[in-house]
């Protein structure tokens, strides 16, 4: 039971690490002079350090930091791939609605007849 709880907690932290890393990359790549990047960067890096330290020192003390980051990224991408069909159901529904959409009757155009 203990291992299962540890695994679940580790998975939650993996998700946090993944989002934090993505946001870090996004902040750096989308920098522009009118952007107050420093507070966001600091807040994100602090969050990342906190999550990584909990994961590293408490849940996985025997693994290396690099291994932990790779595992977090890998697990999160797999989760997204696993969950993507559920999103795709909604996209398919919207696309089918779009496919069968017909032009609504325009009262102004009717006046021309």
């Amino acid at each position: 039971m203990k291992i299962e709880i540890n695994d679940a907690l580790s998975s939650v932290l993996d998700g946090c690490i993944f989002i934090s890393l993505l946001f870090l990359i996004h902040l750096i790549c989308s920098y522009h002079p009118y952007h107050r990047i420093l507070p966001l960067l600091m807040g994100n890096v602090l969050f990342l350090l906190l999550v990584v330290s909990i994961n590293y020192f408490t849940l996985n003390p025997e693994s290396s930091l690099f291994y932990l980051l790779r595992e977090s990224m890998s697990n999160s991408i797999i989760s997204i791939l696993y969950f993507s069909p559920f999103f795709y159901i909604f996209i398919t529904f919207i696309i089918i609605k779009l496919f069968f959409r017909k032009r609504p009757e325009d009262p102004l155009l009717k006046l021309l007849d």
């Binding site: 695994d7 998975s11 989760s79 993507s84």
Partner: protein
């Protein structure tokens, strides 16, 4: 390393592409994304167990993802604005979407071995991360100092603007 460098380039490319045409560097978005995909899907050396697992799952999912993306793109492209539809393209798009679903249920649905509870825990972590980021963005925005109100126009500025308006819009000359 090449595998993860590919992911880094892919995410950088997405972010660059996302910032839009107002910034010249957004032009590099698509090439960087393509380079990232090449580095991910053409691994140079032997992958370790973590990367190999991810690589296999990505390769398995790649066909239906490509089919679905092309299908959605074609339906959107075929549904032109002003109600001028390109029906053959739309029909092709719907066929591709249907094929992607068939492929998914035939080859992927039963072969997934991941623990659903761990996947949900991971997605929960992502939601927590997103909520934290939304909170921190809101906090930073609320602490951003407001721009001071601009001063009213001086007499010389008023005269200058009046002259511009008169030159462009005419006006009653008797009032001068």
């Amino acid at each position: 390393m090449q595998f993860w460098f590919g992911f880094l380039l892919l995410f950088c490319g997405l972010s660059l592409h996302r910032i839009g045409p107002a910034f010249r560097r957004s032009n590099f978005g698509k090439p960087i994304m393509s380079l990232g995909l090449v580095l991910i899907f053409l691994p140079y050396g032997q992958l370790s167990s973590i990367e190999e697992n991810l690589f296999d799952i990505m390769l398995d999912n790649l066909p239906w993802l490509i089919l679905s993306m092309f299908g959605v793109y074609l339906v959107l492209y075929g549904s032109q604005i002003y109600w001028v539809n390109i029906s053959p393209i739309k029909i092709l798009g719907i066929l591709l979407i249907a094929t992607s679903w068939i492929y998914y249920f035939k080859f992927i649905f039963n072969s997934q071995k991941e623990d659903f509870s761990l996947v949900m825990a991971n997605l929960l972590g992502m939601i927590f991360g997103l909520l934290y980021l939304i909170w921190i963005i809101k906090l930073v925005e609320s602490h951003t100092p407001k721009v001071a109100e601009s001063l009213p126009l001086s007499e010389s500025e008023k005269k200058y603007i009046t002259s511009i308006l008169k030159r462009n819009l005419g006006g009653n000359k008797d009032e001068d």
